[in-house]
């Protein structure tokens, strides 16, 4: 055992995701674990983010409500939560830094929708902060 030792809950879960441009891109709402093809213990393959992943963490009625919201936001029958492959994780510190811009992430859908349908229509939405 020579690699870095982390506790999933303490060091990873609920931390801020920061994209390649320094923009905030969601939270580590859950982790996906898979058994490697060659056998052996499971490894972390992806970060799950967004309401579809968070709903299971919350549980109860609030979780069910969040799940329903998440399902409405997805296209068709796709019931998977938004997934960020662990391959694009650059660094784990007080935030989790990613090596890609958030426009490339599945987690970006709700934000893009809010911009395209609501906030983007207000005058001055695209102006840089003076």
């Amino acid at each position: 055992m020579s690699g870095r030792v982390l506790e999933a809950g303490l060091h990873l879960l609920d931390r801020q995701l920061v994209d390649a441009d320094g923009r905030l891109a969601g939270k580590v709402d859950d982790l996906e674990l898979e058994f490697p093809e060659g056998g052996g213990p499971p490894v972390v393959t992806a970060i799950l983010a967004g309401p579809g992943a968070l709903s299971r963490r919350i549980g109860g009625r609030a979780g069910a409500w969040l799940e329903a919201v998440a399902n409405r936001l997805r296209d068709g029958d796709d019931r998977r939560p938004a997934r960020v492959s662990f391959g694009v994780v650059k660094r784990i510190e007080s935030a989790v830094d990613l090596s890609v811009p958030k426009a490339d992430l599945e987690t970006n859908r709700l934000e893009a929708w809010t911009r395209d349908h609501l906030i983007g229509h207000l005058p001055g939405a695209g102006d840089a902060p003076e």
Binding site: G3, R4, V5, L6, L33, V43, A53, F86
Partner: protein, 113 residues
């Protein structure tokens, strides 16, 4: 499998005796390579004990600076931690994890980093 399937689950041995809830999962970065991250995070074992927010506060790490009051309170509430090596896990069911052997021979976890 998701991390949330493990967190909070009841850990039970072959005789049906309970060791407590999973309050955290220890990962070691020495798994197969995954993209730019390098070696992936391998699931090493389960931190088991009484459930609660105590574990999330990070007071099982010696380097936590204080305050003494919170340290003592958390230590008193969550003193019964045990460690389950992943090798001992037989099956992961809903809200329940079956382990081999007996809960009596589970050791204390090494301090976290």
């Amino acid at each position: 499998m998701r991390l949330s399937d493990l967190l909070g689950a009841d850990v039970v041995d072959q005789a049906g005796r309970r060791a407590g809830h999973v309050h955290d999962v220890r990962l070691v970065q020495d798994g197969p390579l995954v993209g730019a991250f390098g070696a992936s995070l391998r699931l090493d074992g389960l931190l088991v004990g009484r459930r609660g927010i105590g574990a999330r506060l990070g007071y099982n790490r010696r380097k936590m600076h204080g305050p003494l009051l919170v340290k003592l309170a958390v230590g008193w509430l969550f003193h019964d931690g045990r460690y389950v090596d992943w090798d001992r896990v037989r099956s992961v069911e809903e809200d329940r994890i079956l382990i081999s052997g007996s809960v009596d021979d589970l050791g204390q976890p090494s301090p976290s980093s």
